[in-house]
């Protein structure tokens, strides 16, 4: 307790930056008691969010999502594959989340970050479990050919709430995805058709499996919000600094009809009681509406 007391006394005479580094928890708690965070946000407010579509020209669908300074770039490439015997009329989505050393000082070159495989596992779980994409739509010829979507998400700047930004960029990339035109050739193989070429026109008319570039219908869009539980406070959309100081993270993923797709909390000092769970779900609902608007603006453009 002596430490806490001394920090209280010092806070009056010490420089703010020094106090922040020496007593980070105390620094944050002083802010929280005023219902404010060091970056000027109220507790339940997420950072400014920007989504940009179609940045990667070599990919079939891509998006860049920014939540505060957390930046994710997602790109999807479609390839034709033979579907598995269990589901002959379904395509497949493979999700990979990358954390290159550029994103954070804690990631060292040559050593993959611990979080990366966990986030890619959670993303693929959520994309498959909430019926966002009808895998049957990715079928070309039943039992013979189907689309395989490779979704790669790169983290350019890891400043907290990685999962939220990754999911947002993935959803935006899927909304930007255009499935390329392909045709069956004489050997029964699938070939890509380049739009402008004359000699392909006859093939396209006869045997094009899908006539024109088309978009996927996204049935059910998941949105997520990460919150920090600290004592009686709930902080939405934490930065990396907040995540490192207060360690109880709750990630709620809700779908379009406000059902829980995932309620994820692993460990942490604080326990989540019923009221905390309810407030987190409420915050996630509000955040879902915000994100829906942001994505809606994109679609009009």
């Amino acid at each position: 307790m002596a430490l806490v007391d001394s920090s209280q006394d010092l806070s009056a005479e010490m420089e703010v930056d020094a106090f922040r580094r020496l007593f980070p928890l105390r620094f944050f708690e002083r802010h929280l008691s005023e219902s404010l965070r060091p970056d000027g946000r109220p507790l339940g407010k997420a950072r400014d969010t920007i989504v940009n579509l179609g940045l990667v020209s070599s990919a079939d669908g891509s998006a860049l999502a920014k939540i505060g300074s957390t930046t994710m770039i997602a790109a999807i490439r479609m390839e034709v594959m033979t579907p598995s015997l269990d589901s002959p009329d379904e395509g497949c989505i493979a999700v990979e989340f990358h954390m290159p050393p550029i994103c954070s000082p804690t990631v060292r070159p040559g050593r993959p970050a611990d979080e990366a495989p966990v986030i890619s596992k959670r993303l693929s779980d959520i994309i498959s479990s909430c019926d966002m994409i009808d895998l049957k739509e990715l079928c070309l010829v039943s039992g013979k050919a189907a689309w395989m979507g490779y979704l790669d998400i790169y983290c350019l700047d890891a400043d907290g709430a990685l999962f939220d930004a990754a999911l947002l960029s993935a959803v935006a990339a899927f909304s930007n995805l255009q499935i390329p035109v392909v045709a069956l050739n004489d050997n029964g193989r699938i070939v890509a058709i380049n739009g402008g070429q004359e000699e392909n026109a006859s093939i396209r008319e006869k045997e094009a499996v899908n006539k024109e570039k088309r978009k996927l219908t996204l049935k059910n869009i998941p949105f997520s919000l990460t919150c920090i539980l600290h004592k009686k406070y709930i902080l939405a959309d934490p930065t990396a600094e907040e995540e490192s100081i207060m360690d109880t993270l709750v990630t709620v993923v809700l779908d379009s009809s406000d059902q829980i797709v995932s309620f994820n909390k692993s460990g942490g000092n604080a326990l989540a009681g019923s009221s905390a769970i309810k407030s987190c779900v409420e915050l996630a609902k509000k955040r879902g509406k915000e994100l829906k608007e942001i994505l809606g603006e994109m679609d009009i453009d």
């Binding site: 966990v118 479990s129 829980i260 692993s266 460990g267």
Partner: protein, 234 residues
């Protein structure tokens, strides 16, 4: 209305539990935990001096190594490792042995559903066996949501596949002493860890939490009985 389960259990009935501790010779603490046919072996080495990079040397550090029954470790196992590590960190007293690392090794012997809860319970028993200072135990349970809106506890692999959604929940063990309440709820009602798969409504989630919480009372009692027995034997 009751729904029938393939193995004739009631919805809230757990599979037979078994736990034996101090079964391995080399580790500082070990335990095997089984729920029905799911069986997990846990071993604890430590506390060993030094911490890994990126860890806070002012606190005790934990590492979890997950060994699947066969084959290489994949993304799912990496996720389990991360969840288990964070869960253990939240129940252990980290300030007692600063700048040390404790390794927890989980070996899956057989997976018949509810694997992660089983591993968490096993790890807990092994930590107790190794004498690692802990705040309280963690009691883990898997709740499944059936199509008809019923909650089924401790499913086996077949049931896990059939269900629309399931949640792994970890609670603190129920204590016999009186603890201060947090916002009108007893401490043991708080969730340490929650992992869900599949879509469920908010009400269904609370139903899962409620049923899971009720079941942890019997799990806690089992822990307590088991630890008392071994104490008596020594």
């Amino acid at each position: 209305m009751e729904i029938d389960r393939e193995d004739g259990r009631r919805p809230n009935q757990l599979r037979p539990l078994a736990c034996s501790r101090n079964i391995l010779h080399r580790p500082h603490g070990s335990a095997s935990w089984s729920q029905g046919d799911t069986k997990v072996l846990a071993a604890v080495y430590g506390p060993k001096p030094g911490t890994r990079k990126n860890e806070n040397p002012e606190k005790a550090c934990f590492e979890v190594i997950w060994k699947p029954k066969s084959g290489q470790i994949g993304k799912a196992e990496k996720e389990y490792e991360m969840i288990l590590k964070k869960t253990i960190q939240s129940i252990c007293v980290l300030t007692v042995n600063p700048n040390t690392t404790t390794s927890v090794i989980i070996q899956v012997v057989h997976d018949d559903g509810s694997l992660l809860p089983c591993a968490i319970n096993a790890a807990c028993a092994a930590l107790v066996d190794a004498g690692i200072p802990m705040k309280h135990l963690a009691v883990a349970i898997c709740c499944c949501l059936a199509d008809s809106g019923y909650v089924v506890l401790d499913p086996n692999k077949l049931e896990e596949k059939k269900m629309t959604a399931f949640a792994y929940l970890v609670f603190p063990n129920t204590t016999l002493s009186v603890l201060p309440e947090v916002e009108g709820e007893p401490v043991e009602h708080g969730i340490i860890t929650s992992v869900t798969h599949g879509v469920m409504s908010v009400d269904d989630y609370f139903l899962c939490v409620e049923n899971g919480r009720a079941a942890t009372a019997s799990l806690s009692a089992f822990f307590r009985k088991n630890f008392q027995q071994t104490q008596g034997a020594v």
